[in-house]
Amino acid sequence: MIARRTLRRIIAGREAGTTLGLLVLCIALWIATPFFATAANLSNVAEQSAIVGVIAIGMTFVILTGGIDLSVGSLVALAGVVIGGALQRGWPVSGAVGAGLLAGVAAGAVNGLMITRGRLPPFIATLGMMSVARGGALMLSDGRPISGFPDPLRVIATGNLLGVPAPVVLLLALYFVAYLVLTRTVVGRYIYAIGGNEEATVLAGVDVRFHKTVVYAISGLSAAVCAVLLVARLDSAQPIAGIGYELDAIAAVVIGGTSLLGGSGSVIGTLIGALIMSVLRNGLNLLGVSSYLQQVAIGAVIIVAVLIDMALRRRVQRSIR
C-alpha cells in the first residue's frame, strides 16, 4: 500500500528529477563498463552509500526545518571513540553501542538547545560543536585509533540478511522509519511547518523549540548510527574519522531535492541523492578516471542534478498554474 503510493509519488512527484538522474547515470555506466551492473558491485555501491546515507537522514530533518548541522562529521568520530573506548574497557557490545548512540543524541540535543534556548544561528552553534566534538574525540582517544573489536560488532558491517549486506538492511530500515515519521506523524508535519513558516507555526501553538531540539538530537543520533557502521566496517574507532562527511550529507540532501530554505523535500529524495553520489564515485573508480578529475566530476554532477531538479520543478509549478 505505502510502497505503491511511494512509487507513484516518486514517478509523479518532486523526486522525479533525481530519480531520472540516477537512472541515466546507471545506464551510462552499464554501457561504459562491464563491471558496473554485476550483483557484487551493486551490493558494494549500496553498502558504500550507507555511511553518508545514514547521516543524511538526520541532515534532511534539520534542513527541512530550515537549519543546518555542520557537526555531524565530528559527532561520527566522537560516538565512534566512545564505542571503541567502552569496548576496550570490556563493556559488552550492546552497552558500548548504546553509550555511543547516547553520546550522539546528547551532543545533538546540546546543538538544539543552543539554537532554541541560546538563540544561536544553527550554522554557528553546530560549527562550534564541530570543533568541540572533534577535540573531545581526540582527548578521549589520546589522538590514537582504537582497533580490534569482538565479532558481534563486526557483524553489523560483515553480516547479511538473505544476501543483502547488513549495512544496506539497516539503511533501508532507517529510511523507512524516517519516511513514516515525516509523512505519517504529527512531529513530521510540525517539521515541515517549522521550515515553511516558523512564526506561523509558533502562533499555531506548536512547541517549536522542543521540536527543533528533537530534530537536532535526531541528527546527532544518525551521526552516531553512522559511527557504529564505520567502526564495524574499519574494525577501528578513529578520532579523525568523518572529516568532511557533513558536506557529503548536505550534498546528498540537496541533490535529493530538499530545499535549503526548509519546508520542502523528502527522505526518499535524500536516499536517491546519496545513491547518486556513491554510484558516481564507484563508476569513476571502475572506469579508472584520475583522482583529480573525479572531484571535478562529483562537483559538476551536484550542480547539474540541482539544475535539472529546479528546472523540472519550475515546469511542474507552471503546469499547475
Binding site: 589522538g143 582497533s147 574494525d235 577501528s236 556513491s278 573508480n285 572506469l287 579508472g288 528546472a311
Partner: protein
C-alpha cells in the same frame, strides 16, 4: 522551459560520449591497480611516475587512484572494493590505515587478487587475526630514516639543542616509525631536549600554523624535525614569517624536489631520501611477476639515504 530543454540533451550527449569512450576496459592488457594515500603529495606523484614508466615497458595497464585526503581510510576502502569489482590482476596498496585497511585486503584475497603493500606496512597481527595475506612489502625502513634524521641533528648542533617535532597523523604507522627512530637517536644525546611534539597531519598548512604556535611557546628552539617534507616546508614558511630563517635547523623526510631546493639554498638542514619512483617501479615489476605466477620475496627493501 528553455533551460531544461538545453540541460537534459547536453547531459545525455556528455554521458553517451563517456559511454562510447570505453577503450580502457576493452584492451587486452592485464590491469594493475596502484592505490596511494593521496595524490596531493609529491611523494605519491613520484611513485605514480615510477610505476607508470614500469607499466609501459612491461605492457601492463596501470590504474592509479587515491582518496582526496590522506587521513580518509574509509574512502580508500571504497576505492579498493570498487577496483576488486573491476577485476584488476594485482592490487598495489599504500594503506592509509595499517590496521583499518585489513578488511579490504581480505576482500581482495577472497577475489583471488594478490595485494602488495608499498611504502607503508599493513599491520601483521591484524592481518593474521583476520586471516588475510599480503604477497610482498616494498618500502624503506622508516624507523632507520628517523634515526638518520636524529643523528644528523645531534651532530649538527653538537648534541645541545631545544627540539620541536611535527608529528604525522596520530596512530599511522609510517610517521610513527619515523618518530620512534628519531626519538631513539635523540635519547643517546642528553643535551637534545624535545620541548614540543605536535601532530600536523602531514599537511603543509597545518604545519605552518603548528610551527607558528610552537615558536610562540618555545622561542628557544634551534632544531625541528618534521615527519615528512610537506610539513617541513610548511614549518620553513612559518619560520621565515617569524624572520628566524637560518636560526632553526629543519629536517624533513621524503627528499621532495622543493625540499632539495631548500637544502641547496641553505634554508633547510637535511631530508631523508626514500626514492618513491623506485618503489613504484619495483611494485609494478612485482605485480607482473605475480601475474606470471612467479614467487616474489616477502620483503623488498628500498634504500634510504640522508640528503644534506
Amino acid at each position: 522551459m528553455p533551460t531544461i530543454r538545453r540541460v537534459v540533451p547536453a547531459l545525455c550527449v556528455a554521458l553517451l560520449a563517456a559511454a562510447c569512450n570505453r577503450g580502457g576496459d576493452a584492451s587486452a592488457k592485464p590491469t594493475v591497480a596502484l592505490v596511494v594515500k593521496t595524490l596531493n603529495n609529491q611523494f605519491f606523484i613520484d611513485m605514480e611516475a615510477g610505476a607508470k614508466a614500469a607499466a609501459d615497458s612491461l605492457g601492463l595497464e596501470l590504474v592509479v587512484q587515491a582518496p582526496e585526503r590522506e587521513i580518509d581510510v574509509e574512502r580508500q576502502m571504497q576505492i579498493v572494493e570498487n577496483l576488486i569489482q573491476r577485476k584488476v590482476k594485482v592490487l598495489l596498496l599504500v594503506p592509509n590505515g595499517s590496521k583499518e585497511i585489513v578488511p579490504a585486503v581480505l576482500k581482495a584475497n577472497a577475489a583471488g587478487i594478490p595485494v602488495v603493500a608499498v611504502d607503508t606496512r599493513i599491520d601483521a597481527a591484524t592481518l593474521a587475526a583476520a586471516g588475510a595475506t599480503v604477497a610482498s612489502f616494498i618500502g624503506s625502513d622508516n624507523e632507520d630514516g628517523g634515526r638518520m634524521a636524529g643523528a644528523f641533528l645531534v651532530e649538527k648542533l653538537g648534541g645541545n639543542a631545544l627540539v620541536a617535532v611535527l608529528e604525522g597523523v596520530p596512530g599511522h604507522e609510517t610517521a610513527d616509525a619515523r618518530l620512534r627512530g628519531f626519538r631513539t637517536a635523540l635519547a643517546s644525546a642528553p643535551g637534545m631536549k624535545i620541548v614540543a611534539s605536535q601532530p600536523a597531519n602531514m599537511e603543509r598548512d597545518q604545519a605552518f600554523n603548528v610551527t607558528q604556535n610552537i615558536l610562540q611557546s618555545n622561542p628557544g628552539i634551534t632544531a625541528l624535525f618534521a615527519c615528512n617534507d610537506v610539513m617541513a616546508l610548511g614549518a620553513l614558511a612559518a619560520i621565515a614569517a617569524a624572520k628566524r630563517t637560518g636560526s632553526i635547523t629543519v629536517v624533513g623526510f621524503d627528499a621532495q624536489d622543493d625540499a632539495r631546493k631548500a637544502i641547496a639554498q641553505h634554508r633547510m638542514g637535511a631530508t631523508i631520501a626514500q626514492n618513491p619512483r623506485e618503489m613504484g617501479r619495483m611494485a609494478v615489476i612485482t605485480a607482473s611477476r605475480l601475474i606470471r605466477g612467479e614467487r616474489v620475496p616477502a620483503e623488498q627493501p628500498v634504500a634510504i639515504s640522508l640528503v644534506r
